[in-house]
């Protein structure tokens, strides 16, 4: 039992290694995120346009949906903030794992302009770390990453529990490990009670 547990513990860690790197970077990067309301989108890094003929009987919400579908943005994950800009154009923001995309429908020209605001690697990892088998952009690479990320979550849970087993099975009387375990338990409980 012990030998097999150790092997699976090791193999699970090796297979999930990259997911742990992505989670670790995301966790460290999260400390430096601005507080709510202070977030600023990245600068515009590029533009694109495509022709689009909107149906005359569509309201803004339906028109935005039609434009979003027609834009077929790579690695997209939804759109929000449908509005009219100063010039009266329909505008909205789409989310992709590579950054924000601002879409504007230039009705007179029958064209849609896309402003790309590419995010940094930290925000990319942050987006990717949330992916799983049923969540994330529909693109194949993101779906495949989602399966890996979900597997890694289970692997992580297994490693935490098997790690405790491996400790108890080999060195249960290790005094400093017991003291450390006690301190960690007490600190976490205290914090939990203070929070709840």
């Amino acid at each position: 039992m012990y030998d097999w547990m150790k092997k699976i513990h090791m193999y699970a860690g090796l297979l999930s290694f990259m997911a742990f790197v992505v989670w670790g970077v995301t966790g460290i990067d999260a400390i430096f995120l601005p507080r709510p309301g202070e977030w600023q989108p990245p600068l515009i890094s590029g533009h694109a346009e495509f022709p689009f003929e909107g149906g005359g009987n569509l309201d803004d919400k339906k028109l935005a949906k039609a434009i979003y579908e027609a834009a077929n943005l790579a690695m997209r994950g939804g759109y929000y903030d449908i509005r009219r800009d100063e010039a009266g154009h329909l505008a909205f923001t789409a989310f992709t794992v590579n950054g924000q995309r601002d879409l504007t429908y230039l009705e007179e020209q029958r064209r849609v302009r896309i402003d790309f605001r590419d995010g940094d690697l930290g925000s990319f990892f942050s987006s990717m770390h949330t992916g799983h088998s049923r969540r994330g952009p529909p693109d194949l690479p993101a779906r495949l990453w989602g399966y890996y990320n979900e597997f890694s979550t289970w692997a992580f849970l297994f490693m935490v529990l098997s790690g405790i087993y491996l400790w108890v099975a080999t060195r249960p009387g290790m005094r400093w490990a017991l003291i450390l375990g006690g301190i960690t338990t007490a600190t976490t409980l205290l914090l939990w009670v203070m929070t709840r």
């Binding site: 290694f17 670790g24 949330t130 849970l157 935490v160």
Partner: protein, 191 residues
């Protein structure tokens, strides 16, 4: 060296056990949320607050925290005429307050999430700018846990490498994981 690394691996595992369980369990809640029935309770209460202690939303919030056992962070402040609205929230609990200066009454609707949903909110809690001190402490724990994850990974890799009989299969598994994950990451980033 092997003994030292094994002890560091154990220390890190001990230090971040609860943090790791929190993140593993809450991640699974994120994934399987549609299948889970997460409990939540709500209750309402009305309290009287003297107008002089409710001159501003912040003053009213401090009064409610001091004398009516509300705790958390002040947010979503709205003031229209004689009505003040805001929320006081902390991981797992959120109170929406609506105060009318003319009646001197504050209606408080409090929503209390269950254990798993609270874990989810602790998972997404970040930054050291919180007015609610435990939220900063959880953020610090997240940060240290993330650093710990790297150190656990590094010591784990070392410990595996010291097991000579596991090197070949280990390299195959590590290689497969890296090729698969890096390929999907790079393709996602360059899409």
């Amino acid at each position: 060296m092997f003994r030292l690394m094994r002890n560091i691996h154990l220390i890190l595992g001990q230090l971040f056990f609860f943090y790791a369980m929190l993140f593993a369990a809450s991640s699974l809640v994120f994934i399987y949320r549609p299948w889970l029935k997460l409990p939540r309770s709500e209750h309402e209460q009305t309290v009287r607050v003297a107008a002089e202690t409710a001159r501003t939303p912040r003053a009213l919030a401090f009064e409610l925290m001091r004398n009516h056992r509300l705790k958390g962070e002040l947010g979503n402040i709205k003031q229209e005429g004689e009505t003040i609205q805001f929320m006081i929230a902390r991981p797992g609990t959120r109170s929406d307050v609506r105060y009318s200066a003319s009646s001197g009454e504050a209606k408080i609707r409090t929503r209390r999430d269950g254990f798993l949903e609270t874990l989810v909110q602790l998972h997404t809690n970040h930054g050291f700018w919180h007015d609610f001190l435990p939220a900063n402490a959880w953020s610090l724990l997240s940060f240290l846990g993330s650093v710990g994850l790297f150190l656990l990974g590094a010591t784990g890799i070392y410990l595996w490498f010291c097991h000579h009989e596991e090197r070949v299969i280990g390299f195959v598994i590590l290689g497969l994981g890296l090729v698969y994950s890096l390929t999907t990451l790079v393709l996602s980033r360059t899409a």
